[in-house]
């Protein structure tokens, strides 16, 4: 597992947002997050063409109060900048009608110990 990914998980778990890796068995009520290592370089090969070594992770935060949004976003984005440099992006921001939760998703891709 890439050491930068481990650092990302550790930093997220130090925040006030409860974070789990991949999925919660029993998700908490209120605000929570999920961090996942989505793929590593060995999986980044298509049609026999070797790609650069890299890993990609995503960070998801779910919350119900819109007033929390700005603080949550800056908390996560400061950590992403610290660990991934400028190779992260806000991938999507959605509202789940079924649960009333807002869902913000970031992805970061890091090349072989450096920025993508």
């Amino acid at each position: 597992m890439p050491s930068e990914y481990e650092a990302l998980v550790a930093a997220l778990k130090l925040t006030d947002i409860p974070f789990a890796e991949y999925a919660w068995k029993n998700r908490p009520e209120g605000t929570y997050g999920v961090v996942s290592l989505d793929f590593e370089s060995g999986q980044l090969e298509g049609d026999g063409l070797k790609q650069d070594r890299s890993w990609e992770a995503s960070v998801d935060v779910f919350f119900s109060r819109l007033s929390e949004r700005e603080d949550l976003i800056s908390t996560v984005e400061e950590i992403l900048t610290e660990i991934c440099g400028d190779s992260w992006e806000l991938n999507s921001s959605t509202y789940e009608n079924a649960t009333g939760l807002f869902h913000v998703e970031w992805t970061c891709q890091v090349m072989d110990g450096g920025d993508a």
Partner: protein, 159 residues
């Protein structure tokens, strides 16, 4: 599910297209179509790897997508109509025009089902098949664009 794969700064391609003169835009579009096709195929092949489980309502847990949900997105990926803007040709690969499918007796927008699986929800664990496929297919798509343009150069003895 906005994935942008830009082929940028490719002096080699630019130089080849210049040599093709008025046939350059056509060759670029043909190359882009082939590249987009490879990207779509790579993403489509990732759909087979999505883990599924029969639908089960969960109040506080996380479920996997049902076989019906994955079935709805299989074969639905498409290449958007080319958008020509002067010398620029743009297209995208995705589910935007995929329409609706019957999932467990309800009509659901295929793009939303695909997004739920790719990005996850509070009740479904993400399986980023789309991002994984786009990353894996990028180099092959780029190679296909160059190959198609080179073929056009060959046909015109301009290589």
């Amino acid at each position: 599910m906005p994935i942008t794969a830009k082929v940028e700064g490719m002096e080699e391609i630019s130089e080849m297209l210049t040599r093709l003169e008025e046939d350059g835009p056509k060759a670029a579009a043909a190359g882009l179509y082939d590249g987009a096709g490879i990207m779509a195929k790579t993403i489509e092949s990732g759909i087979d790897g999505i883990k599924t489980a029969p639908f089960k309502y969960t109040k506080f847990g996380t479920r996997l997508p049902s076989p019906e949900e994955v079935g709805a997105i299989r074969g639905a990926i498409g290449i958007a109509k080319f958008d020509k803007n002067g010398a620029e040709v743009n297209t995208s690969v995705g589910f935007a025009n995929a329409g609706y499918a019957d999932v467990a007796g309800r009509q659901k927008a295929i793009a939303l089902v695909a997004n739920s699986i790719n990005s996850g929800t509070s009740f479904m664990q993400k399986q980023p098949f789309f991002r994984r496929g786009a990353s894996a297919g990028a180099k092959a798509a780029e190679a296909a664009i160059i190959k198609t343009i080179e073929q056009r150069l060959d046909e015109k003895n301009l290589k």
